[in-house]
């Protein structure tokens, strides 16, 4: 009995990592090049989703994750030829975390709808700023350094490792203390403040971490595609994707964005094949609406509900036996 319990606990704690690693091995050895390319896209969306979820736990539901994603893409693209790839990644992440912290301070007082619209505005403004800045080569786009001589398999492994890092960070923020703090900040900031949680600092810190994660997704994007246009990356699509995969998968968990990304991208690919590249997103829109209406807590919410019902039944049965 205790053995089963420990196994359950371990599975809950490390199962997600094991699952990711297994999936990566399967994809590395058995998937076609085309499928590996899709997987890379899915991993990018997963990390972006995690970055949104981390931030949303503190009640800051962002509508502009493409801001930090895009900054990541661009800064890695610009820095890599100058400083080398590794340094470029490190500098980019630090830079993006700094910018995100700055925006976090600016937006920390805003709530709900205002926060959503303002973050959206920031992401659109960023697209224009990239057009104007002297070193981004404007509307004509920028060429990026591809990693591993565009060997997809190696790129999948790198992306998986970074996904594991993102999940690890997210799990750290889900441990009892930070999770309770985030919950308090989200539900009642005054109460949180008076119970000794540094609300402003926490919010800004989370904003910065979230920006760093989105930048990570951008850095991967930058090193697997050879060329980027400003409207490719500072695109509302990434704002929506980050939210959609997290909410459809289930908020306040690390597994949610992963499941959501698989669901959304799966539907997208399937419909793209059947109807062609015009208008296929119709079904993505439909999926989003249906999911939000029928399961507001996402896939993880449904699973949890099912499990708890199962458990309750188990308790009842054992009670009857006594």
């Amino acid at each position: 009995m205790t053995n089963a319990k420990t196994a359950n606990r371990l599975l809950g704690k490390y199962g997600i990592y094991v699952f990711i690693i297994l999936a990566c091995i399967v994809v590395y050895f058995f998937a076609s090049l085309y499928f590996q390319q899709i997987v890379l896209g899915v991993i990018i969306i997963m990390i972006l989703g995690i970055s949104w979820d981390v931030l949303a736990r503190t009640g800051q539901a962002s509508f502009g994750q493409s801001t930090y994603f895009g900054i990541g893409v661009y800064s890695v693209a610009i820095l890599a030829p100058i400083t080398g790839v590794v340094a470029a990644w490190i500098i980019s992440i630090i830079l993006t975390m700094g910018i995100a912290a700055l925006f976090g301070m600016l937006l920390s007082k805003l709530k709900g709808r205002y926060f959503a619209v303002s973050t959206l505005a920031l992401s659109m403004a960023m697209q224009v700023i990239v057009l104007v800045l002297p070193f981004t080569s404007g509307a004509s786009g920028i060429s990026t350094t591809m990693l591993f001589r565009s060997n997809r398999g190696a790129q999948v492994i790198l992306a998986t490792v970074l996904l594991l890092v993102a999940v690890f960070i997210s799990e750290q923020l889900l441990r009892p203390r930070p999770r309770t703090a985030a919950f308090l900040i989200r539900s009642n900031a005054y109460l949180a403040e008076s119970s000794g949680i540094p609300v402003f600092r926490r919010k800004v810190m989370t904003f910065s971490i979230s920006g760093g994660l989105a930048c990570l997704a951008g850095a991967i994007y930058s090193s697997i595609y050879g060329y980027v246009l400003p409207e490719d990356v500072f695109n509302v699509k990434y704002n929506v994707m980050a939210i959609a995969v997290s909410i459809l998968g289930g908020v306040d968990s690390s597994a949610g964005p992963l499941l959501g990304a698989i669901l959304v991208r799966g539907i997208e690919e399937a419909t793209k094949r059947t109807i062609g590249s015009t208008g296929y997103q119709l079904f993505v829109g439909l999926l989003i609406i249906v999911c939000v209406v029928t399961m507001p807590n996402g896939i993880v919410g449904v699973i949890k509900k099912h499990l708890s019902r199962h458990r309750e039944r188990g308790i009842k049965k054992s009670g009857e036996a006594v």
Binding site: L110, K111, R113, Y114, A125, I243, L282, L287, I288, I289
Partner: protein
């Protein structure tokens, strides 16, 4: 000097269209607390209705009435099918579901009407010549009807019983319920009115510019900037925000080289400045957002 005056007049004329769209967003946000991202798609579909009817030989005013009614109904349907089910959900779920609707409608339009850009090539009025200043007739047309629709909305909200219901619901939902207002009816009316305004604005868009499936998203982002500048749910704020934004855009595209491509940026730089200087918007209630 003449260029400056012309630029400002241009901006003020376009403001009529912006005010019409933004006040529709604002009325829905004010009453139901839902930011409707699909509002832009209603504008787009309204533009298509107008385009197809007009090219079939229907009078432009009847086109406008048709767009007005059909988009009002579509908006009501979208409320009954989806939006009423997320009224009590978390805010990010609401935003996401309206965004889903927006993706759905714009892609449906791509499938139905193809992504090819369509133009009506219509001149509604002769151009106006004031000395060196020339104002195209179509701009005067959209300004006149934009403002008629905008002030029509103000009249509706302030002078009719349904309008009063909406106003009360917008100010205090709980109180409205206790004083016997049918809040569900108020929500429905706000969606119908917002959608109808969007449809009529679609006619104006079709007259002024081109019609294509993503034309709505362009206007909706501007409408959000305007609405936040004016204060969410404030109708006078929508007009002021629209005027500031339209004139700002017009000035930038005239005086900054290659400025037309920075159009979007103007709205958002203004919005961010606004958030820093006066976070509640011009007419926003204090404590509304912070």
């Amino acid at each position: 000097m003449a260029t400056l005056i012309q630029t400002i007049i241009f901006g003020l004329l376009v403001a009529g269209l912006y005010a019409c769209i933004a006040s529709g967003v604002s009325i829905v946000v004010g009453v139901t607390r839902i930011i409707n991202f699909a509002h832009g798609e209603l504008v787009m579909l309204g533009a298509y209705v107008t385009y197809y009817l007009y090219t079939a030989g229907v009078n432009i005013f009847i086109c406008m009435i048709a767009s007005f009614i059909s988009m009002g109904l579509l908006s009501l349907v979208s409320y009954q099918l989806f939006m009423r089910r997320v009224l009590d959900s978390a805010e990010h779920n609401q935003v996401l579901s309206t965004y889903g609707l927006s993706i759905l409608l714009s892609n449906a339009a791509m499938l139905l009407f193809t992504p090819i850009v369509k133009a009506m090539h219509v001149t509604m009025m002769p151009s106006l010549h004031l000395g060196p200043i020339v104002i195209p007739g179509n701009y005067i047309f959209i300004a006149i009807f934009g403002f008629i629709l905008y002030f029509g909305l103000i009249f509706f909200v302030n002078k009719t019983k349904l309008g009063a219901m909406m106003k009360l619901t917008s100010e205090n939902r709980q109180l409205a319920k206790y004083s016997g207002v049918n809040t569900d009816l108020a929500y429905q009316v706000s969606f119908v009115v917002g959608g109808a305004l969007a449809g009529a604005a679609g006619t104006l868009v079709a007259v002024m510019l081109y019609v294509y499936p993503t034309v709505g998203s362009e206007y909706i982002t501007k409408a959000f900037a305007i609405v936040v500048m004016g204060g969410l749910g404030s109708i006078p704020g929508a007009l002021l925000g629209a005027a500031i934004l339209a004139v700002g855009e017009s000035l930038v595209s005239t005086y900054i080289p290659n400025g037309a491509s920075l159009n979007f940026g103007v709205s958002f730089v203004m919005l961010i400045l606004m958030l820093v200087i006066r976070p509640n918007g011009f007419f926003g209630k204090r404590g509304d957002r912070a």
